[in-house]
């Protein structure tokens, strides 16, 4: 998460590690230059504003020293602070220092532009941001150097072509370019503000708003210079510099906000312990202010699952950060969140500390849910394997015993045709018996796995079933398009069992099968006008069907009153 640290020079890095060193340097330089400025007649307001701005920038850098991810912006803040004073070397009597001041006069502003457009991780937001930053340095450094080369001022040590008109032209081009750079910067910042969400927006808003408010007056200052070629008034100069102070102020505000939020988070964390209706993930998400937050529990075997027990994978892509939550040495869970939260380590830490108390329970619950999901999946697999076995047995019956018996039956018929009447009669009786046995075998095969269901679907299979039942059975509705074999079999077996019970026990005069498919569910209802009093006996056929239906995440119910009539219905989720 700490990026590009290698790009920072070793000396600057040591200054950053110990920013306190920058502070006395800035104070001393500010006091020295202020004293020198007053001595050479610089207006007090300018001296006060520049020294205050410099100290403000450096102070903000020091205050932000706890933010690991803000290392780069902090460097730029401190650098800008020191460069404000470098530009003020113009206040010195010495020609050499005056010239350095002239060259570096506006570089601090270019550094601020870079700070804004690379916030917070040091990477440029976009190609336009890179161009804007480069144009800023071009205007400030090259423009400053060009000014020094043509300046008419007697203190200029670099002047090689003292020309008032060249000095004016360069000054106006430079100011015009600076104006464009700030305009582009404001545009990019506003776009960034509008497009960021959640924790990112919260973390960056104070600084970005500070920039939007700070730059316009400096743009007026640059615009005035570009249009008139004249230095603007002291009041405008002082006011525009003073307003830039909103940027370090924004920095400090962002830090103050997160401290405030930590207190708020403590309250929310207390709420974590009093489990409400919302899930732990929702409560953590609210406490941390990250709507994208995901919570993954670690199982004993090292896998991660979400709260409902579904497998979860910890991301390894940039743009998501992972914080592990542990008790002792054992990792209990992982928070997958917006990396911006890493800017608020104390906030995350406070949530982590409190969450640990409830986490173990929640993790165990997630583990149970994961096991439950596995059991359900294996139950569905068992049913599917059983169905496949039934299909195979039906096929074996058809191809084996049935074929041989059929051949015998036909042969008996032929033999009867050739035999004398007495023998023929005996052979035909044998053929009739065999045909009856074959009929029973067919019914058995159909009960094991109905061919018609597999070939033609539920509607056709139920119509055929209704014709075979020795009772008027009406069918209402339709299963619609084909369903999975498991759903079709469950619905078929349910109807078969219910109608068998009706015929055997209900003494009904008619029965009705109703199919209804809506909202991703198939509802099968079998009702009769019989004597009623049916129930789901633990060892009954319907009880076995309930297991089959529940293996498919469905429900089965039996309604039967002593007054008469029985309704067996099942709801099966079928996807569409």
């Amino acid at each position: 998460m700490i990026s590009r640290a290698t790009l920072v020079s070793p000396s600057a890095r040591s200054l950053l590690r110990d920013p306190v060193l920058v502070l006395p340097l800035s104070v001393a330089a500010g006091l020295g230059l202020g004293w020198e400025g007053r001595r050479t007649g610089v207006p007090a307001s300018l001296v006060a504003v520049d020294v205050a701005l410099s100290w403000g920038l450096v102070a903000a850098s020091v205050i932000a020293s706890g933010r690991a991810r803000w290392r780069r912006p902090r460097l730029l803040l401190a650098l800008a602070g020191m460069l404000v004073l470098a530009g003020d070397l113009e206040w010195c009597g010495s020609a050499g220092l005056w010239t350095v001041g002239l060259v570096l006069q506006l570089v601090w502003l270019a550094v601020i532009v870079q700070l804004m457009l690379t916030f917070p991780d040091g990477r440029s937001w976009s190609r336009l941001a890179v161009i804007t930053i480069a144009a800023g340095y071009l205007a400030a450094l090259v423009g400053g150097l060009a000014s020094a080369l043509v300046s008419t001022d007697s203190r200029d040590a670099l002047s090689i072509l003292s020309s008032q008109s060249a000095e004016d032209t360069i000054g106006r081009i430079r100011a015009g370019l600076g104006f464009a750079v700030l305009l582009s910067t404001i545009g990019l910042v506003v776009w960034r503000l509008a497009s960021s969400r959640g924790a990112t927006r919260r973390a960056q808003a104070p600084l970005l708003i500070g920039a939007v408010l700070a730059f316009p007056l400096t743009m007026v200052w640059l615009g005035h210079q570009a249009l008139t070629g004249q230095d603007p008034s002291t009041v405008l100069t002082a006011a525009s510099s003073a307003l830039i102070g909103l940027i370090p102020l924004g920095f400090v505000t962002a830090i103050g906000w997160s401290r405030l939020r930590r207190t708020q988070a403590s309250d929310l964390v207390v709420e974590l312990r009093t489990a409400g209706e919302r899930t732990l993930r929702d409560r953590l998400s609210r406490a941390l202010g990250d709507p994208t937050l995901q919570l993954a529990y670690r199982l004993d075997d090292g896998r991660y699952v979400d709260e409902s027990g579904r497998p979860a994978v910890l991301p390894e892509r940039p743009g998501r950060a992972v914080t592990l939550l542990s008790a002792g040495d054992e990792v209990l869970a992982a928070l997958v969140h917006d990396p911006v939260l890493l800017d608020e380590p104390a906030l995350v830490e406070s949530v982590r500390a409190t969450a640990g108390l409830v986490l173990e329970n929640e993790r165990l619950a997630a583990e149970v849910r994961a096991q439950l999901a596995e059991v359900r999946a294996s139950r569905a697999r068992l049913v599917a394997a059983g169905d496949e076995e039934r299909r195979r047995i039906e096929r074996d019956l058809h191809d084996g015993a049935q074929q041989r018996l059929v051949a015998v039956c036909v042969t008996l018929g032929m033999a009867a045709g050739r035999a004398d009447p007495a023998l023929a009669d005996m052979l035909r009786r044998a053929q009739d018996d065999l045909e009856e046995a074959l009929g029973e075998l067919r019914a058995l095969a159909r009960g094991i796995h109905p061919t018609l269901l597999q070939e033609e679907g539920l509607d056709a299979a139920l119509e055929a079933l209704a014709r075979r039942v020795p009772l008027p059975v009406s069918i209402e509705g339709s299963a619609g398009s084909r369903l999975t074999p498991a759903i079709e079999l469950a619905a078929y077996f349910l109807t078969t069992e219910a109608l068998t019970n009706t015929v055997k026990h209900a003494g009904a005069s008619s029965a009705m099968v109703c199919l209804e498919r809506s909202n991703g569910k198939l509802k099968v209802t079998v009702s009769d006008d019989g004597v009623g009093g049916a129930e789901l006996a633990p060892s009954g056929g319907l009880s076995g069907l309930r297991d089959r239906v529940e293996a498919l995440d469905g429900t089965l119910s039996v309604q039967s009153s002593q007054a008469g009539g029985t309704t067996v219905s099942a709801e099966l989720p079928c996807g569409s």
Binding site: H398, V410, E435
Partner: protein, 120 residues
């Protein structure tokens, strides 16, 4: 009675049924033009032998008898198709009526009389 005997092609993947069917048909005065054990073989044999009747099993190892029947029925001068199966017609629902076959005979009830009634 027709002067020419009726020529029948037997299509079934079970050789024991083909044998008993051949015996039954020949005894009843039919001529068995040939036998086929699969759907592809059946279509080729029907084209080559131009039988008057095809006795066609529903379940074939390389396809479905109903599809073969539908294919053969497309030719108006083609053979009359009689579906046979060890299952019953109601096990196959509407497909029996929709495949273009002249009729369906359950294998165990196959005899000269049932065949003649279907072809009548």
């Amino acid at each position: 009675m027709r002067a020419m005997p009726i020529r029948v092609l037997i299509v079934d993947d079970h050789p024991e049924f083909r044998a008993v069917a051949r015996e039954l048909l020949e005894e009843a005065g039919y001529v068995v033009s040939g036998e086929a054990a699969g759907a592809v073989e059946a279509i080729a044999a029907a084209a080559a032998q131009a039988p008057d009747v095809v006795l066609l099993d529903v379940v074939l190892p390389d396809g479905n008898g109903f599809d073969v029947a539908a294919h053969l029925s497309r030719d108006p001068s083609g053979p009359a198709v009689v579906m046979v199966s060890s299952r019953e017609a109601e096990d196959y629902g509407r497909r029996v009526a929709g495949c273009g076959a002249a009729g369906f005979v359950s294998k165990s009830r196959l005899s000269a009389a049932t065949l003649a009634s279907v072809l009548a």
